[in-house]
């Protein structure tokens, strides 16, 4: 993969990378570190990528593994900017705003491993793909997704 191609590739996937990293980073600075680290690791790993799995599976795998291993790394005591705070656009009503904020904040309350399962489920990945990305069995993914889905719903409904 040439650098130019990799550049385009990163641009195409940056939204997804940021969505995942945001669920693990505690502030804007950490988010930047995570995204940069994912990009470095994707570049380092691309030569080893064998077309046995989908490219998206590979990107999710690297992103989640970097986030899981980097999370909690810097126990900074500085006041962090909560990433759940969204700057909502005007075309959204209050009830929806509240639901989105609740979903984001409750995802961040989950354990790191569970968070990965939920994020992939929300990104519309099949159980098979989630299992492949996280190195779990499909049945285990099914059980976890159902449990976490219900947990999140009850958390949002209060």
């Amino acid at each position: 993969m040439s650098k130019a191609f990799f550049k385009t590739f990163v641009q195409q996937n940056i939204d997804m990378i940021q969505h995942i990293c945001r669920a693990y980073a505690r502030d804007a600075e950490e988010l930047k570190d995570f995204v940069q680290e994912v990009t470095i690791q994707l570049w380092r790993s691309h030569s080893k990528f064998e077309n046995r799995s989908k490219v998206s599976t590979w990107v999710y795998r690297v992103t989640l593994n970097v986030c899981l291993s980097m999370a909690k790394k810097n126990k900074r005591m500085v006041e962090s900017v909560p990433l759940d705070n969204l700057n909502f656009k005007e075309d959204i009503d209050e009830a929806e705003k509240e639901q989105i904020e609740l979903l984001y904040s409750n995802i961040r309350k989950l354990r790191e491993g569970d968070r990965a399962v939920v994020l992939l489920y929300l990104e519309d990945k099949s159980y098979k793909e989630i299992a492949e990305i996280l190195g779990m069995t499909v049945s285990n993914v099914g059980v976890k997704v159902n449990r976490l889905k219900n947990q999140l719903k009850s958390m949002i409904n209060g």
Binding site: K3, F6, K7, V10, I14, D15, Q18, H19, R22, A28, L31, K32, D33, V35, Q36, E37, T39, I40, Q41, W43, R44, S45, K48, F49, W58, R61, V62, N65, V66, L68, S69, M70, A71, K72, K73, L86, N87, F88, K89, I92, E96, Q99, I100, L103, Y104, E112, G113, Y121, L122, D124, G135, K149, L152, K153, I156, N157
Partner: protein, 201 residues
């Protein structure tokens, strides 16, 4: 009440987001990784080169002692063998880290690297609290023997003997504590972080 669709909420939330992080690929690609494995590899490379440099030094000292035909030639010889073993182990550790890939079996690979490093640190503890006091004791005894050979008035178990033994004990304890502090300073946080990473995955 309608069933809550969390996928739909997530998708709506995604639409509210704009890119917060701009990635300059040209700049990032040339950057070094900030992960703990990079720093472990960095330290291992430094240790590897220190050993490479000390190998000819040990060889030179051993050849000097060959003419004297005393115990030191064996000590330096054993030192050389140890350095060669170290060089192989450093390379083995560095290769394990280099092979590590975030797209692969991350937990399995990290667990292996953690175990190898833990073994390595354990070996340091044995060297620090075992080999250093033993070599201090041996060199003090050799020194005492030399003194006794030159000075006929020197008697074993006399006051100067106990003073030297006491000095050797305190010195070896201080040297061991200093090396132990250095090992903890260099590897302590890194190995703790690796354990954390393994547990998190």
């Amino acid at each position: 009440m309608a069933e809550l669709d969390i996928k739909d909420i997530w998708a709506k939330g995604k639409l509210q987001r704009s890119n917060e992080v701009e990635v300059n690929v040209d700049e990032v690609v040339g950057k070094k990784s900030k992960d703990v494995l990079y720093w472990v590899k960095f330290v291992l490379w430094i240790e590897f080169w220190i050993n490479v440099v000390s190998l000819p030094l040990f060889y030179w000292m051993m050849t000097l002692e060959l003419y004297a035909a005393d115990i030191y030639q064996y000590i330096y010889g054993a030192g050389m063998v140890m350095i060669v073993v170290y060089l192989f182990y450093y390379q083995f550790l560095i290769r394990s880290i280099r092979k590590f890939d975030y797209a692969g079996d991350v937990k399995g690979s990290l667990t292996k690297i953690y175990k190898y490093l833990k073994f390595y640190i354990l070996h340091y503890k044995v060297v620090v609290w075992g080999l250093i006091p033993i070599s201090c004791a041996v060199s003090t005894l050799l020194a005492l023997e030399e003194i006794a050979a030159k000075d006929e008035t020197f008697a074993f178990y006399s006051t100067p003997f106990w003073v030297m033994i006491g000095f050797m004990a305190v010195a070896s304890l201080l040297i061991s504590a200093l090396f132990n502090f250095l090992v903890n300073l260099i590897y302590g946080r890194k190995i703790k972080r690796l354990k954390e990473m393994v547990n998190q995955l």
